[in-house]
């Protein structure tokens, strides 16, 4: 099978071309996922680019992204496949005169044209290169998780009426989780595990510069530094990367070239989404800790 990436550096370069900056850990795991043909389970706080990673991989490898958005109550008929009852009914009604025997009709209505493929089956049957994204997998019930196991370990599904459909290829599979509940061991065992956290200063600055090209280096650095400072406070919800980018854009729209306390006060609501967090950050940023004191 053709390998998508030839080395870890290749992953970094490939992703960088589509404006995704991967650190050593991310790139290493993506590379391994390609080599070991295993799905990757990506966990981490909201808004650190978990979903974005799957999109970037798809773009970098020229593959089509197939996305299964998980939610409570997701079941087989929404994730895998469903028979098109209405069409089946029409087919039976069209046969009023009984010119066909029942067995013919039955064989007919349980065949391909009456099958509605859902994302997982679509991914398995795809001929062209794809990346399968199973988003927010922690939202489905534990029972539904079992549904994913066959797909993830063997990349095949069994449909009683049609038999087992085996995937023609092993695509890169990315699962994301916001960690609202503990996923089952069985699922985790089948995946490589990647925890994505808030980036360090350098990387965040780079991300801002890549995503907001009109920003100059100095402002980007200031943005990254202020955000890091705010993340060190004890907040309900720390600013995510996407919020950092939004903030940088806001500053550009407002025509700011420099960050001073006033600007922060005015635009803090772009970064923080809870009133109590905003109040806290305001208070903290107004008062500077005494020299040498530990800010935590």
């Amino acid at each position: 099978m053709a390998e998508r990436f030839s080395s870890v550096e290749d992953v970094v370069d490939g992703l960088r071309k589509v404006d995704y900056l991967a650190d050593a850990n991310i790139a290493g795991v993506v590379y391994l996922a390609d080599r070991l043909e295993k799905p990757v389970m990506v966990e981490g706080p909201a808004g650190v680019g978990k979903t974005e990673l799957a999109k970037a991989i798809a773009e970098a490898t020229g593959a089509r992204l197939i996305r299964l958005q998980c939610y409570e109550g997701l079941d087989e008929s929404k994730a895998l496949y469903e028979w098109n009852y209405k069409k089946q009914l029409l087919r039976i009604q069209a046969d009023r005169e009984h010119e066909n025997s029942w067995s013919d009709v039955e064989a007919d209505i349980f065949s391909e044209p009456f099958l509605l493929t859902r994302p997982l089956l679509e991914a398995i049957r795809a001929d062209e290169p794809i990346v399968l994204l199973i988003d927010e997998v922690d939202r489905v019930e534990i029972e539904t998780e079992a549904l994913l196991l066959e797909v993830l370990s063997d990349f095949q599904v069994s449909i009683p009426e049609l038999g087992t459909i085996v995937g023609a290829q092993r695509p890169i599979v990315i699962l994301t989780s916001n960690n609202t509940r503990e996923l089952s061991e069985a699922l985790k065992r089948r995946c490589l595990y990647l925890h994505v956290d808030y980036p360090d200063l350098e990387r965040e600055k780079e991300i801002v510069r890549v995503r907001v090209p009109e920003i100059d280096e100095e402002l980007a650095e200031q943005v990254a530094r202020v955000v890091r400072s705010i993340r060190q406070l004890e907040l309900k919800k720390a600013p995510s990367i996407s919020e950092t980018i939004d903030w940088a854009r806001t500053l550009i729209y407002l025509g700011k070239t420099e960050i001073d306390p006033e600007v922060i006060q005015e635009t803090l609501h772009v970064l923080l989404k809870y009133q109590s967090d905003i109040t806290k950050a305001r208070k903290e940023l107004e008062t500077t800790a005494a020299p040498g004191a530990n800010p935590s």
Partner: protein, 499 residues
């Protein structure tokens, strides 16, 4: 475990000889090291399954082992599936692969670190330099964020200040303390700020800029500290061997940390672990509640619906039981020895407040004070806890725990407010300093309340020793639980929410 052993041998044979492309020359010995590594991870409490072990071996085949970051990413991705196990993994990784780490000499990681260290102490580059020169060089390296230079200087500082001797039975923290005391990181931060001001990086009187600058420097100093730590660990491993070192460094996972003996760092780790834990627990409980939403047969409704089937009760209807959310009263001893336990439990219970119809709380030592108001006034639990610690009026006579008196006052003021919907949770080690137990009050509370529980942060073996009288109270409680760590606390809370 004959099956596992056979598999491991098979795997070693399959992957062992000449398997690793681009790895170090002896891939076989690397696999031995990997086996020891996995063994140590399991000993540290990480659940590593057979498949994961094999995955790790396969993964190592595909990467450049010489590239430390990638190597670590590969092992982490295949062996560690919980984020809160990551720091345990990192410790073991650092011990096991410290000899392969970029060392003072840079390239030759396999070199004999110990001999090289002796050489340095015997008048190498570090010996000739004065303390001021070393500090000055360090300052420069820190200002320029020159990581290689920082690492080199960290090595020198350890040679110079730690006073390490082969075979000396002293822990790494001792050496770390000695080195850091000499390096004076606090003073270094001030010097860095001064230097920045001289260079004109900082505009005087711009508090925001100053704050950011200081945080930046603190970050670099933290890094320096890590480098020093790594260096000490490396030398200790060279001296004592990998297994012995790993054993001494073995730390409990956050959910297993004992509340009563947690260190400062462990406290912080616990603090961070609480919120995700409560969120996960709340989600799980909500789901479970939804699933069992079938109650008794609703006869009236079934008959009503049977009309549409011509009087045949074809569709049985059920009552939806209203999930009864218990009302919680927490009464916590916050005297010295159990203070952190009380704090975590309060924090946990309040983070779960949405699961209860009402939460009220009291804290006591020998006096008792209701602290519900602090939690109502602020939606920041950490801040409320802070206020409980500083503002609650809990001392009556001498500030030594007196459960009897606290209970007496509690009964006097609040007995009538206890209803059959109330669950009372008493927290403490029941070390009553030989005061009267007044355990009849617990009995009285129990008669009015739905349930009375007692949570004791001491190991079960210590109960009823010395002045502990937990059993005196326990006989009137619906349950007395040992609650030494987050894991036990979580299972208790999940039990009471379910009734």
């Amino acid at each position: 475990m004959a099956f596992n052993a056979a598999k491991v041998i098979d795997a070693i044979e399959r992957y062992g000889v000449g398997g690793a492309g681009g790895g170090p020359p002896d891939a076989g010995s690397m696999l031995d090291v990997l086996q020891g590594f996995v063994h140590e991870l399991r000993a540290a409490g990480l659940p590593v399954s057979m498949t994961e072990n094999l995955d790790a071996m396969r993964a190592v085949e595909h990467i450049e082992i010489a590239d430390r970051d990638t190597f670590k990413a590969a092992l982490g991705a295949t062996l560690v599936k919980h984020h809160h196990h990551w720091s345990a993994f990192e410790t073991v990784f650092d011990v096991y692969f410290s000899l392969y780490a970029p060392g003072v000499d840079g390239e030759d990681g396999d070199g004999d670190a110990w001999a090289e260290m002796q050489a340095m102490e015997g008048g190498g580059a570090g010996g000739e330099m004065s303390a001021e020169e070393l500090a000055e060089m360090l300052l420069n390296a820190l200002m320029n964020t020159d990581e290689d230079e920082m690492r080199r200087l960290a090595g020198m500082a350890v040679s110079r200040y730690a006073g390490m001797e082969p075979g000396r039975p002293v822990g790494g923290t001792y050496y770390l303390y000695r080195t850091l005391r000499q390096l004076d990181l606090e003073g270094m931060a001030a010097r860095m700020m001064g230097r920045a001001r001289e260079q004109g990086d900082t505009v005087e009187g711009d508090p925001l800029e100053e704050r950011l600058q200081r945080e930046e420097f603190e970050e670099r100093l933290r890094r320096l500290r890590e480098l020093v730590e790594a260096e000490i660990r490396r030398r200790l491993v060279a001296d004592r061997g990998v297994e012995a070192m790993a054993r001494t460094l073995r730390k409990p996972l956050p959910e297993d940390v004992d509340f009563m003996h947690a260190s400062r760092e462990e406290m912080q780790a616990l603090q961070r672990a609480i919120y995700p834990l409560t969120r996960a627990l709340a989600a799980r409980l909500a789901q479970r509640r939804k699933r069992k939403n079938r109650g008794h047969l609703d006869f009236r409704s079934t008959v009503r619906h049977s009309l549409s089937y011509g009087g045949v009760p074809a569709e049985p209807k059920f009552r939806h039981p209203r999930p009864s959310r218990p009302e919680i009263m927490v009464v916590a001893d916050i005297s010295g020895s159990v203070a952190s336990f009380a704090r975590f439990t309060l924090q946990f219970v309040y983070a779960m407040a949405s699961q209860f119809s009402k939460v009220r709380s009291w804290v006591f030592i020998d006096g008792i004070d209701e602290v519900t108001r602090f939690f109502q006034e602020s939606d920041d639990i950490a801040e409320a806890i802070q206020r409980v610690n500083t503002e609650a009026d809990v001392v009556w006579v001498d500030g030594h725990s007196d459960y009897g008196h606290a209970l007496e006052v509690f009964r006097e003021r609040h007995l009538t407010e206890i209803t059959p919907k109330t669950s009372i949770i008493l927290l403490g080690d029941a070390r009553n300093n030989y005061h009267a137990s007044q355990n009849a009050i617990v009995k009285e509370l129990g008669q009015r309340a739905r349930r009375v529980y007692w949570l004791n942060p001491e190991p079960r073996g210590y109960w009823d020793t010395g002045d502990s009288i937990v059993s005196d109270y326990g006989i009137y409680c619906d349950g007395v639980f040992e609650c030494r760590n987050l894991r036990q606390l979580e299972s208790f809370v999940s039990a009471i929410v379910e009734g």
